[in-house]
Amino acid sequence: MPHLALTGLKKTYGAARALNGAALDLRGGEVHALMGENGAGKSTLIRLLAGLERPDSGVIALDGTPLRLGNPAEAQAAGLRFLHQELQIFPGLSVAENMFAGRAYPLRAGLVHWRALRTAAAEALHRLDVTHIRPQAAMDALGPGDQMLVRIAATLLPGASTPWAYVMDEPTAALTGAEAERLFAAIAGLRARGAAVLYVSHRMDEVLRLADRVTVLRDGAHVSTRAIADTGQARIIAEMTGREMRDLYPPRGTATGTVVLDVAGLAAGALHDAAFTLRAGEVLGLAGLSGSGRNDLLKALIGAVPRRGRVTLDGAPLGDTPAACWAQGMAYVPRERRAEGVMLGRALGETVALPHLSRLSRGGFVNRRAEGAQVNTLAAQVRLKASGAAQPCGQLSGGNQQKVLFARALAGRPRVLLLDEPTRGVDVGARFDIYGLIRDAAGTGAAVLVASSDLPELIGLCDRIAILQAGHLTGITPAAGLTEAALLARCYGDTPSKDI
């Protein structure tokens, strides 16, 4: 079995020390998880492996022979392949053509031998036990999960040099549950073929389930490498953060106040029928498979999609535009942070102030003093790590961008917080902060609605959980004492064939 050993890696960018004695040990036939908070050095380590950067010092050795990874081609020659969350694909071309991108097409009489191309592509997909993707399908007709499978299968084309190690950086970030399951099956297949998979993810449940060994980095240095049987969630978190975490979730609230939001017969997009009430101080979770209408329910309540049905906020009918909903005291943290939330190139203070401009202005003129004071107070409240309100959002980590959106939602003491996947792609430290913020907001009388595909998160965080099934709200259950399996079973209901 091949064996890649990284020892004593150091790398600095200007004054910033990205790696300070990082180490990793990767063997063929294992899935090896690489864990660490944002800034722990995971990305830098991967960039070194990919030949995009050279280390300042340290050794990368394959089977005892030091490697010089000066450029991506040398990394490829060493048998390493890299799969990122945002894959580079050729959308207009077929699956088979995408698989052959960058290598010679099979020819016959000087022309492309299309049948041989398709046969080879089918053969490679088959080696990965992928049968539901046709080689002639258009690449852009596939979901992100299938596109990833195609990219993996491309490394198994007959006649090509087969890599022995795959580096996957947050591969499930954009995938649905069912797509992730197919990826996990493919990863198991690669491992069975003797390949190594270096798996980087913020999702603890995936890591605990997939990995054979776990390496934890903190502040650019190696903390531990353990077999999965010798560690666990609490230990990994403690090693990542350097502090003991008694419990991931803040204690539930006890008091529930008056009814804030009253929803009846709500329909919007994939949502056909939802009725529920939400009380002050309560955190209500929304569980459901993808396509169950989770996302549409929140978008309907912020007025972003047309809706039918009756919705009242503190007894008054809810407006039907985002502007009206924000003005009435609804606040929204969207699912797609970069596409729907922050303004990457603008000062973070502008993202925070945007929905509240009317309140922060007089006669149409922005009151910069009130705005600055508001932004600074909120930034401190959400423990934002930024150089100031003028720093562009694009320079912040994912967790801090999410905190910017929380600061925005908490401005002006909202009556209802609508949170769609509030901790998606957020590291453990920021996740603690965000759970705390959600509970604090509830504690001061806000009602909170959280949609999440992370079931342990819903169970740990919420007071009650509403189940959405194919567009219908089928029931609401207390979260305390619920198991993940029981919740998942309720999400599936009688039709267990849907995507999660």
């Binding site: 190139g345 603008r346 502008e350 102030a353 401009l357 003129f365």
Partner: protein
């Protein structure tokens, strides 16, 4: 570091251009009279370019401003020949600008046509309308009220210089007033904040309660009115109106905004940056004319300066983003 270089690189280049003409034309370039002259020459461009900045802030642009300027000038002149009073002709011409901008706004924000396509179509329409209104002729002479053309010749007295009155032209003051108005609008009001939000991320802006459709439409109306005002200024300055006289404004205005974006922080359109872009183009035009450089050569040189500035900016950005 690279960011600083990118911003100040262009500024240094602008300064170098000024120094170059100062050295080449020691007696005539850096004089109060010539600088005032430049300010008047670029007053129409200033108005169009700052109005263009309003839509470019949202990531849109308006190709129809040049033909709208022509149309507005022609409309006013034709109404003058029908003995309309001065104020009525001006109001009607500005109303045409508002209407044209409204058409652009409806096509782009309500119907959802790409700005490039929509304003290319209205460019042609406005241009055709200008020919129809004027009958293809230049309107000049006694048909144009004296008060109209006198305005372009007059100004605020700054006293005497070399025995002649030194005037700060009304056109310059008007352009400065428009620039100040747009600066306040974009930099100080919630309206401007929301336009920049749309430019940064339209969907995020919508979800945060920005009325994207309405604001986008209104911004095009504003730009249309600005173009019409520039057309009137032009007609007053040359005391005549013909259906093609504004056509050069569009490309130069877009060029000025782009030039400005190379000096602004984060490469965004800003009013003061646009003014810097306009000033550079005005200085080049004035200096090269004085050096008796052929007008075709002048166009090539202006084009080269724009390519150079934007290239430096793009390379600088790559250096920043590449790490």
């Amino acid at each position: 570091m690279a960011q600083t270089l990118r911003r100040y690189g262009t500024l240094i280049g602008m300064l170098a251009i000024v120094l170059f003409f100062w050295a080449m034309l020691p007696d005539t370039f850096m004089t109060a009279r010539n600088l005032i002259n430049i300010s008047q020459q670029i007053s129409m461009l200033t108005v169009v370019a700052v109005a263009m900045t309003v839509v470019m802030v949202m990531g849109d642009f308006d190709l129809s401003v040049g033909s709208m300027a022509s149309l507005a000038g022609v409309v006013a002149a034709v109404l003058f020949t029908h003995d309309w009073p001065l104020w009525a002709g001006l109001v009607a011409a500005l109303a045409v600008g508002l209407l044209g901008g409204l058409i652009n706004g409806v096509l782009i924000s309500l119907i959802g046509i790409l700005p490039f396509v929509a304003t290319l179509a209205t460019l042609t329409m406005f241009s055709g309308a200008a020919f129809m209104v004027s009958g293809g002729k230049t309107i000049f002479g006694r048909d144009i009220p004296a008060a109209f053309s006198d305005f372009a010749r007059g100004g605020l007295s700054l006293g005497q210089l070399d025995g002649r009155a030194l005037l700060l032209p009304w056109l310059t003051l008007l352009a400065l007033a428009v620039a100040a108005l747009v600066w306040v609008l974009l930099e100080q009001t919630t309206y401007g904040r929301r336009l920049y939000a749309i430019g940064a991320n339209p969907e995020a802006a919508r979800l945060a309660g920005v009325r994207v459709t309405r604001l986008r439409l209104s911004a095009f109306v504003f730009t249309g009115a600005g173009a019409a005002l520039a057309g009137l200024m032009y007609a007053a300055r040359v005391a005549s109106a013909n259906p093609t006289q504004g056509s050069g404004l569009m490309l130069t205005a877009i060029a000025a905004v782009f030039l400005g974006m190379t000096v602004s922080e984060n490469g965004q359109p800003r009013v003061l940056a646009t003014l810097a872009g306009v000033a550079v183009l005005g200085v080049m035009d004035n200096g090269l004319t004085q050096l008796q450089v052929d007008s075709y050569v002048r166009e090539v040189l202006v084009g080269l300066i724009i390519v150079l500035a934007v290239s430096i900016s793009a390379l600088g950005r790559r250096a920043v983003g590449g790490r």
